[in-house]
Symmetry: C2
Subunit: 547 residues, 2 copies
Amino acid sequence: MDSRPKFWPFIREMLKFDRNRELQQTVSREAIRLVEPRRHVDFLSDVGQFLTSDQISFDEDDRLGHAYGRSFRDVQRLRAGKIDFAPDAVLLPAAHEQVEKIVSAAGKHKVILIPFGGGTNIVGALEPKHADGRMVVSLDLRRMQRLLKLDEHSQIASFEAGVFGPELERLLEERGFALGHEPDSFEFSTLGGWIATRSCGTQSNIYGGIEDMVVSLRVVTPLGTIETKPAPAASNGPDLNRLMCGSEGMFGVITQASLRVHRTPECLDYRIVLFKNFAAGYEALYDCLLHDALPDVVRYSDEMETRLIFAAKHGSHGLKAWFDKPIKAYLKWAGFSAPCVLLVGFEGPAARTLRLRNAALRILKRHGGFDTGQGPGRQWRKSRFDVPWLRDYMMDYGVIGDSMETAAVWSNVRPLYESVRAELSDAIQSVTGYAGYVGCHLSHLYKTGACIYFTIAARGRENDGPLELLGYYEKIKARGTEAIMRGGGVLSHHHAVGYEHRPWLPRELSPAALAALRAVKSRLDPENIMNPTAFLVEEAEADLRSR
Amino acid sequence: MDSRPKFWPFIREMLKFDRNRELQQTVSREAIRLVEPRRHVDFLSDVGQFLTSDQISFDEDDRLGHAYGRSFRDVQRLRAGKIDFAPDAVLLPAAHEQVEKIVSAAGKHKVILIPFGGGTNIVGALEPKHADGRMVVSLDLRRMQRLLKLDEHSQIASFEAGVFGPELERLLEERGFALGHEPDSFEFSTLGGWIATRSCGTQSNIYGGIEDMVVSLRVVTPLGTIETKPAPAASNGPDLNRLMCGSEGMFGVITQASLRVHRTPECLDYRIVLFKNFAAGYEALYDCLLHDALPDVVRYSDEMETRLIFAAKHGSHGLKAWFDKPIKAYLKWAGFSAPCVLLVGFEGPAARTLRLRNAALRILKRHGGFDTGQGPGRQWRKSRFDVPWLRDYMMDYGVIGDSMETAAVWSNVRPLYESVRAELSDAIQSVTGYAGYVGCHLSHLYKTGACIYFTIAARGRENDGPLELLGYYEKIKARGTEAIMRGGGVLSHHHAVGYEHRPWLPRELSPAALAALRAVKSRLDPENIMNPTAFLVEEAEADLRSR
């Protein structure tokens, strides 16, 4: 972080810290002791038949590493040494057939299974809220990372679901292909996790969300394995792939998936375009949309987020590398005093991509966009997965950092942007007693609307510990989510439901719709062994945040 | 049909008719008498509270008109006067709230409801196979055709589900918008029917199938109305819109839908390109795909279907209008003796569309495509909904005519094309004793595969009546479907399941998947009033084709 010399000063100014950085006290690993794990002897004897000893772990570090995801709440609790729930064991199956046997044994013995990919979930989808005395197993798929088949002519790759983002792209790249699904968690998240949460990657404008990429699935449910037929489209009843996308571990374990892939892009053109204000860039992007000239990647930051981006640049490649001084002076003179950064990316076959790029840039310039060229775009690509690190860095110094996102139809994008931003600013002020930082970007653009992504930073009062900050966070998050719901946004565009969003679910989905999903759950999982306290848990059973 | 002078001679030659056309005997309307309808007095009293007398019909013509869809089986049975099942009454609700009340009354009195749109279904999704003595009501949505809202900025239009294709497009066109969903049944089918069957229109390459267009839905289920939130995308659990697409009337009544629409295309460029053989055009299209230059509309006919197309042309605009004699001579000289017709269409904003057209045509020409220009393309557009009429015309003269379709991943498209074609030819010969016609086209192209659409024509033996022909049809259709299943194609790409495809469903979907869908059905519809014998009916209850 020392390579980003402007970052802390920016945070300090924003949050009105009148002191220097002070590392927040955290509990040492040694101070954390988990309760002895429950060991269901018959279950362990059953899985011991086909798992080797290195596939079954009761190790405390392993259990701790599988207790939480990576939400602000999760990280803060870890730092405070507050372990609400850790699995009793971690199982590491190495093949689809082993998962089938584990699920079968778990059903027989009513052992709870929590499918675990990269553990980057930030909505609490990995943590059983209670276990009724049952043994809880974290089912970690990290040993299932194989590329099973690449059908080059059909542009379909079949993977085991435990494969991590970088490994998946590496295996494809060796063969001249790519998937193009890069959520912010890319480096540490897995294919199975992407599917279970209906995840969406940076390049969704061109490649779609993960649900658009799934051609077929294998899902091990307690009732049996569901295997869908690989097809580009079908009219054979409701789409079962889509029923599994967003199931958050409740219906079964996604073990394999066939995905639509594409040839390694011949041409990659990422660049930064600046706008004088948020409205100008919004109009420009909307105009691209109307002319079927939407860039393949769009991330459009408002004035505040743009300031954060500039502040977070590496010293050696920072603002200075982006624009030499004369350009900076020119920009100021030309009215770009509080600019908005638009990242656009174009990728694919050369001819098509250059045609699209030229068409889009023409429109962006017509709306006053200042194209800073590919250099800054390349810088962005290099650091595109850094955002979570910035949050953790801020947390080191006792700053609350979080993101919230929603999606809305176009006519509601700007109203929601304004109302949620105002609500978050107000919430931060009234909850913590200090002004905070609220930034926003639009990304994942569709014909009918867009994702609106907010980032916040807030400070606590003097001497607040992690749990006090967590209390503030909960209140701010709740008020932001209320504002999203009031304004007609969806509960989440790509972070999933989990227990963080569960309280709003009855307002998000019709009662009959919830009942239908619960019917699927009980039919596929009659013993309720699969992630049983996830978002479909009945209201009465829900023990939301209140233990 | 007299305007298509070459059509009958072509059929006659193909099917080796050695006689002139002879109209098949059909039963007169007067000879058909339906059994007296069951009238559930309490149900009728309940719905009489809010429906006017012209919204409840027991009229025999109405009942007959709602007994069947438009499959070969349906039309043939009608012509033979064989009415296996007619609803007892037809109800014509005029608003969502009336549908809610009807569904509620039906649930209370265990009256069966069959949602009815345009009645063009060809897989038997409209016909209850048995009713257990219960009253059966056809719920016809034709009085619900309003455009409820057009959100121009979001490009979203909300319609009542009973709106027919032409009316929907007319209402949008008045406001400068279009949907772009044109299945062959377009003129006579409704929005609700499209959604219930996961229908796909000609321009699916650019606009997607109906499931890609649905932004939100209102579905009246016996458990309550499911209303989904309009959003471009979401991660709020499994996608409920998709759960309703393909539900074939079993989960509830789709009353309203919000759809992604677009500005009326500035530019429409449809043209016919000829290829010397099927392989050449296939390679050309695949090359377009790899270069992201896939035309917005593709319908690529094999040699046999091309002959049918030429034969079916109107005399005044026929081959003669397409190509004047010198061009014809040139084509023959140039090796196009048995050409394959590729229809390509480009539509959208002018700049983007011309760019795409030029890129695609360049590739098609590189593969030997001969561009005959927009004239023939315009002719195709004028007659694009004629195919069902040709079938009915053939049926007038005792010819079996039908279509079957599937979708497959690219590496399986040509193998399936060959194997199903061979199987259908062989089936026609061995079942009827005569050679038949088997043509095919590829349409609805995706990055990962395509729809493969077969049309067949076959004759019967001398003096065969409608029911004998129906018997042949069943055997041929079964062998074709078997070949599709053996070859790994999906059961249907866009015709849905119904009872025609139901026997193969247990091989199409995993048992646990079927169980999950049935669980949704029983939860939403505990009294089993919604289209109860549709494809999710339990095996034991299924009375397949055997009454």
